[in-house]
């Protein structure tokens, strides 16, 4: 079965990714269905990163020489690219080393300023998360609550893998200061209904923090339209290098947000006993940043934009539809997450009968098929569903219909392999 209606020419796209020239497990074609964990990189990104080191390497924002100028220009140019990608303004883009760091930055900033800090979380305040959060968007808030005495509450997940919004007004009450949630679940593929949540959060004066790690690499993002207050995503899931993450925040919020990491570059003035802070975004970028990685990320976003985010989403939905239909035909298969493609992205978690996901993943690996198994860093969610683990396939622009067929054939092969043993 193939999707001739796909808007993408995957054969052409795959040629841009050097990793697809190699084979795995004794000459098998690599079927990479683990982009939800990290994406593969096109040659242009690898070159952009290497080229920075080869030709322009110097510490940004310091040094009175030509290389420093070029490095600064490349790094700040990358910031402009990210701003364009998110339809944001350039001063609202903070480079971090990862989305995890971005979320920790916020969680610490909300408790590290002086008492006049308007973001200071205190006893009696409430932080709202959801049951489907990745550990990176749960634990920083959980620990912030513990540090400050604030209360942590959460939206539950329905058996279909959607957020249960029936108690939204009680959950997001007048004590609520922060609502942190994922745009798209890294386990279920669910795309969350932001409009209602953002409206309620703003009604009570809370800020909305959006984890866009699974959405920004796959669909066009417009921060103004989303209406959230902070957003983060990681470079390496969006064709970019590891070691680079993005935090976007509304400028009027960043203006007052206290810093998290202290050191070089983030200051305005320093004496032995005190210091004042540079304006955003530099206030949040202490130390020499990951410059080559920022440049690599800009190249990745350019690649995605050239292909077209709308086309990428449409392509991934076709693959998702094909996989969901295929799994529906396998009696033992159970999908965790929406069974339709409405408000859903290209991540599908499932189990197959009594075959443990690790064993299924191992069999698939023997066929050259790379999937993720386990709790996917969302342990409370898998526990909610009463299981220890699932197998997860996640798609990207370089996957095609034949790879969904290979996965389905691999599942049948695993059923056969483990049947009579």
């Amino acid at each position: 079965m193939s999707n001739s209606s796909s808007p993408l020419d995957t054969a052409v796209i795959r040629r841009d990714f050097p990793i697809f020239t190699r084979t795995v497990r004794d000459g098998k074609k690599l079927v990479y269905l683990d982009s939800g964990a990290t994406s593969q990189k096109p040659e242009s990104v690898i070159s952009a990163e290497a080229n920075f080191y080869r030709m322009h390497n110097a510490a940004v924002h310091r040094g009175a020489h030509q290389l420093a100028e070029e490095a600064t220009e490349a790094y700040e140019g990358a910031r402009e690219s990210v701003a364009k990608f998110l339809r944001a303004t350039v001063d609202e883009i903070i480079f971090t080393k990862s989305a995890t760091e971005s979320l920790n930055l916020l969680a610490y900033a909300f408790s590290s300023g002086d008492s006049l800090n308007r973001f200071q979380i205190k006893r009696g305040d409430r932080i709202v998360v959801t049951e489907m959060e990745h550990h990176a968007n749960l634990i920083p808030w959980q620990q912030l609550a513990k540090r400050t005495g604030a209360e942590l509450v959460w939206f539950e997940v329905t058996p279909e893998g959607r957020l249960d919004l029936s108690k939204i007004s009680e959950l997001i009450n007048s004590d609520t200061r922060i609502v942190a949630l994922t745009h798209q679940s890294n386990v279920l593929g669910t795309i969350n209904p932001l409009e209602q949540i953002v409206a309620r959060a703003h009604e009570v004066g809370a800020v909305v923090v959006l984890d866009a790690c699974q959405s920004a690499p796959h669909k066009a993002i417009d921060v103004e339209k989303l209406g959230v207050d902070f957003l983060t995503f990681s470079g390496h899931k969006a064709l970019g290098p590891t070691g680079i993450g993005v935090l976007w925040g509304r400028s009027e919020l960043l203006e007052d947000l206290p810093p998290f990491l202290f050191g070089g570059s983030m200051i305005e003035n320093v004496s032995m006993l005190d210091a004042t802070w540079a304006p955003s975004p530099r206030r949040f970028e202490a130390g020499v940043p990951n410059m080559a990685q920022a440049v690599g990320l800009a190249s990745a976003l350019e690649y995605l934009t050239n292909v077209g985010l709308e086309k990428i989403s449409a392509h991934e939905l076709l693959l998702t539809e094909q996989l969901l239909a295929g799994l529906a035909n396998i009696e033992e298969a159970k999908v965790f997450g929406p069974e339709s493609t409405v408000d859903r992205g290209g991540t599908v978690s499932f189990t197959v009968g009594a075959i443990h996901p690790h064993d299924l993943g191992q069999y698939l690996d023997s066929q050259g098929i790379a999937v993720r198994t386990g709790h996917h860093c969302a342990w409370p969610l898998t526990r909610k569903f009463g299981i220890t683990a699932t197998t997860r396939a996640s798609f990207y622009l370089y996957n095609d219909a034949s790879e969904v067929d290979a996965l389905l054939a691999g599942i049948a092969g695993a059923q056969e392999y483990f049947k009579d043993k």
């Binding site: 497990r25 690790h358 064993d359 191992q362 342990w379 220890t388 392999y417 483990f418």
Partner: protein
């Protein structure tokens, strides 16, 4: 196929028909170990009398490798002196760290040499060791009592 070196029949037999599964009512030291990277869990209960492993029972959820390994471990060490049990434990640990270069000593490991293939799959070594590490933890505690 290459995969057969991992999924030896004796491993799958233990997975399907585990031994000593179900925690004993007898007194003993009970520990709960988790593989945080995958969520597999095992509870192992060990009683030691006069330096001898009197009883090992367990319960758990996990993949075939982790569950078969704890099943085989419980059968192997029951009735042995602590020192002998530790010899097997050390041999098994060494086998897991051998990166596929060792076949394991059947004189010491008995059926557990079937796990030799696991050492070629770095991601699965923790699965195979989960029950053994729980036994080590529980038996050390039991001796201290």
């Amino acid at each position: 196929m290459e995969l057969d070196s991992l999924y030896q029949q004796v491993i799958l037999d233990h997975y399907k028909r585990p031994l000593h599964k179900g925690l004993s009512k007898n007194s003993g030291v009970q520990v709960h170990h988790i593989n945080p990277s995958c969520g597999d869990e095992v509870t192992v209960k060990v009683s030691v009398n006069d330096g001898v492993v009197a009883e090992v029972t367990w319960d758990g959820v996990g993949c075939s490798i982790s569950q078969a390994s704890v099943s085989m471990m419980s059968d192997l060490v029951t009735g042995l002196g602590i020192k002998e049990a530790n010899v097997i434990l050390d041999e098994f640990t060494a086998l897991m760290q051998s990166k596929g270069t060792s076949a394991g000593d059947p004189e010491i490991l008995d059926d557990a040499v079937a796990f030799a293939g696991v050492s070629k799959y770095p991601a699965r070594i923790k699965c195979a060791l989960l029950g053994w590490m729980a036994f080590k933890d529980a038996s050390v505690q039991a001796q201290a009592q």
